[in-house]
């Protein structure tokens, strides 16, 4: 190993970042060709936890695939539940009661905040600041407790059903969520004072890790990565689904294209999600949480269906082809981080190792969702 690093006639050397490395947050491997501390070439190597979710989908009934969706992006599992529920409901023509739609939006947004909080902690940890991780986990714990009380699980949720949700929310959840909104609003200024305004953090993120809108388009990057490049694209606004059109919220967009922009987008999204949850709780109608006419055995008519949702990391698209039987003929998942990671090789060329890792952190990678 030392030969490569030291031999005089070799100007570059290769280091493996991962599959076990503190910065890759999972079993991602990046093969880095380095010239000193500069990156000449970076190649993400995937497949360490590939579980063939798409193939699994072809082998089980429509309803049986729902738990799989919670195991793609385990940090924002409800969005993936939502995407799958949407596409099957679209295919089978199932109407969802309004109360269920609101509950879906409230829980998905809570999950989005939980995901962003975890990203925030892990990102600052990548930059060498350990303490914010614990603060973020403290707040995230409250969300997980709330979600556990209605969904029964804390991480790999399987809460949505075709035609609604499986469990109604109760008063405890509503008061608990309101208390949490108040709590997080009082904590966010602390986050900004401790981290966002820190001069070391600003120096490390400002004008570092540039990702242009054009590069995002070429690689299909979405979510906060795209919005940090100045493109206002959010499925919740651009192709509205569920009850998002009835709710009032903004899409944070920063045009600086650097790691700081992506950081700010996510921090602002936490605030916007709080707004959405607040409005959702105010407008929450009475009624059933499950469509009465929802069939027990789903057999969507023959056809090709697509639905997309805005997950915490970007656009999660799901396409299903039905041949009219009780199992999907083909199921294709379009996961956001796969596209977001694809641009990493190009984006980090010529960067210093430390900056490249800050860039990787700002992409918010969840490996099981890349290798699905």
């Amino acid at each position: 190993m030392n030969d490569l690093a030291c031999s005089p006639n070799q100007e570059t050397f290769v280091i493996n970042l991962g599959p076990q490395h503190p910065a890759t947050h999972g079993v991602l491997r990046v093969k880095l060709t380095m010239d000193g501390e500069y990156i000449v070439h970076a190649e993400p190597v995937l497949g360490y936890i590939h579980r063939m979710h798409e193939k699994m989908g072809e082998n089980r009934t429509w309803a049986q695939f729902m738990p799989n969706t919670g195991r793609l992006d385990y940090l924002g599992a409800l969005s993936y539940n939502h995407g799958y529920a949407l596409v099957v409901e679209r295919a089978a023509g199932i109407e969802v009661p309004e109360r269920a739609e609101y509950i879906r939006v409230i829980t998905v947004e809570l999950n989005r905040i939980a995901s962003h909080l975890l990203w925030y902690g892990a990102f600052v940890l990548d930059l060498g600041g350990f303490t914010p991780l614990l603060y973020a986990f403290d707040d995230r714990e409250h969300i997980l407790d709330l979600l556990e009380s209605v969904t029964g699980s804390r991480l790999t949720f399987c809460y949505f059903r075709f035609g609604g949700v499986y469990n109604d929310i109760d008063d405890n959840f509503i008061t608990g969520t309101r208390a949490f909104i108040k709590r997080l609003r009082s904590r966010l200024p602390d986050y900004h004072n401790l981290v966002t305004k820190n001069v070391i953090l600003i120096n490390r993120l400002k004008d570092v890790g540039m990702i242009s809108a054009e590069m995002c388009r070429r690689y299909g990057a979405t979510g906060p990565v795209l919005r940090g490049s100045g493109v206002c694209y959010d499925v919740r606004k651009n192709e509205p689904y569920s009850v998002y059109p009835e709710l009032n919220f903004d899409i944070p967009v920063y045009g600086e294209c650097d790691s700081m922009a992506r950081y700010m987008v996510r921090m602002d999204e936490i605030e916007q999600s709080l707004r959405i949850i607040e409005q959702g709780l105010d407008k929450l109608p009475e009624g059933p949480v499950m469509a009465e006419k929802a069939p027990k055995i789903i057999k969507p008519p023959v056809g090709d269906y697509y639905a997309a949702v805005e997950a915490a990391r970007g656009t999660f698209g799901i396409r299903v082809v039905s041949d009219g039987t009780n199992t999907p003929y083909r199921l294709k998942l379009r996961s956001p981080t796969f596209s977001n990671l694809s641009l990493y090789g190009e984006a980090c060329q010529g960067m210093l190792l430390a900056d490249a890792l800050a860039l990787m952190g700002s992409l918010d990678l969840v490996i099981p969702e890349i290798d699905r």
Binding site: N2, I15, E37, F130, L352
Partner: protein, 338 residues
């Protein structure tokens, strides 16, 4: 006291005392660090082993010692084993001149300050050899970083120390402390008549000692999110433990020097009851600040670190040197005229 007068006894007592002090510090600073970190992070920290987890360092030590001394294939066996000692031994040696109290220094050497800096420069050699001998690319990168960092920060630190020597006229640490006798405004930190930029001097010295000891936010050598564990990636058991002891011993040395030079050493801030307790209190307060900084700030990059030194600290400390010289000249001119 009579026993201390007899030379061989004195040597033995101080040798044992210093080694015990360094080892206890290393053990209990780890405990303190974990406790401080925990409380900063709304946690409790070690609490299971003994009251307040006070026996935790003992158990950790036993664990480290019982581990196999693994020497990975392909390493340079000599360098690999020597490197941790090269970090620890100079750090412990530096304790020899530290004046814990008025008569409580192993050796009252006239060039004590110079000796500490001579030993401090050996420390980086240990990091370099450890990184190089490990036959690990992360370790090599880390070793290169540690060297450039240490070179960059020794310069402003030494320039600042030179300004202090110009003010104190001596390199004898005990002498420097004695000059700061009286109320706390006699401390060199507050002697603005000697150098109007004394606070800046202290800040530069403190920042440089953070960088010299590879502490956050300057812990580029062991940036875990980039280089896994840097130069000690391949070390396990006591090899790792000795590196750690060296690091903490260096922190104690850095904070002791800051205390001696700027905060009056063992002098009491109110002029009465001076003694080693004041020295330790001041040192541990500084060490607490070091830990506080580590658990608050993210890490800088290597470039940011070098820029800070070469573009900010060195020019300021050079200006500081000039100003101190001018101030001394001015005072002697006025005194001479009077």
């Amino acid at each position: 006291m009579a026993l201390l007068e007899i030379e061989p006894f004195r040597l033995l007592i101080f040798l044992g005392g210093l080694i015990a002090f360094a080892a206890l510090n290393a053990a209990y600073l780890v405990w303190l660090e974990r406790k401080v970190a925990a409380h900063i992070q709304c946690r409790i920290g070690p609490k299971e082993v003994g009251p307040f987890g006070l026996l935790q360092p003992l158990v950790d030590g036993i664990k480290l010692m019982s581990k196999q001394l693994l020497v990975p294939g392909g390493v340079d066996p000599v360098l690999f084993k020597v490197a941790p000692l090269l970090v620890l031994v100079p750090a412990v040696m530096s304790f020899v001149t530290i004046p814990f109290g008025e008569n409580l220094a192993a050796r009252n050497i006239d060039l004590g300050l110079l000796m500490i800096f001579a030993f401090a420069s050996v420390n980086v050699l240990g990091l370099l050899l450890g990184g190089w001998g490990s036959a690990n690319k992360y370790a090599v990168i880390s070793a290169a970083r540690a060297v450039s960092q240490n070179v960059a920060y020794e310069i402003p630190m030494l320039i600042t120390v030179i300004t202090m020597i110009m003010v104190t006229h001596t390199m004898n640490l005990n002498e420097i402390v004695k000059q700061q006798e009286g109320m706390f405004w006699h401390w060199y930190l507050f002697r603005l008549s000697a150098n109007p930029l004394m606070f800046v001097s202290f800040l530069i010295f403190f920042v440089c000692s953070l960088a010299e000891t590879n502490r956050a936010p300057f812990d580029l050598g062991e940036a875990e999110s980039e280089l896994i564990a840097g130069f000690h990636t391949e070390y396990s058991g006591m090899g790792f433990g000795v590196f750690f002891m060296g690091e903490y011993a260096n922190i104690v040395i850095g904070c002791s020097l800051a205390t001696v030079l700027f905060l009056g050493g063992w002098q009491s801030p109110i002029g009465v009851a001076s003694g080693w307790w004041w020295f330790l209190l001041k040192v541990y307060t500084l060490i607490f600040c070091v830990m506080w900084i580590r658990w608050t700030y993210p890490r800088t990059t290597l470039w940011g670190l070098l820029n800070l030194s070469w573009k900010v600290l060195i020019p300021i400390s050079l200006f500081n040197l000039l100003l101190t010289g001018a101030t001394i000249k001015l005072w002697s001119f006025f005194m001479g005229a009077a």
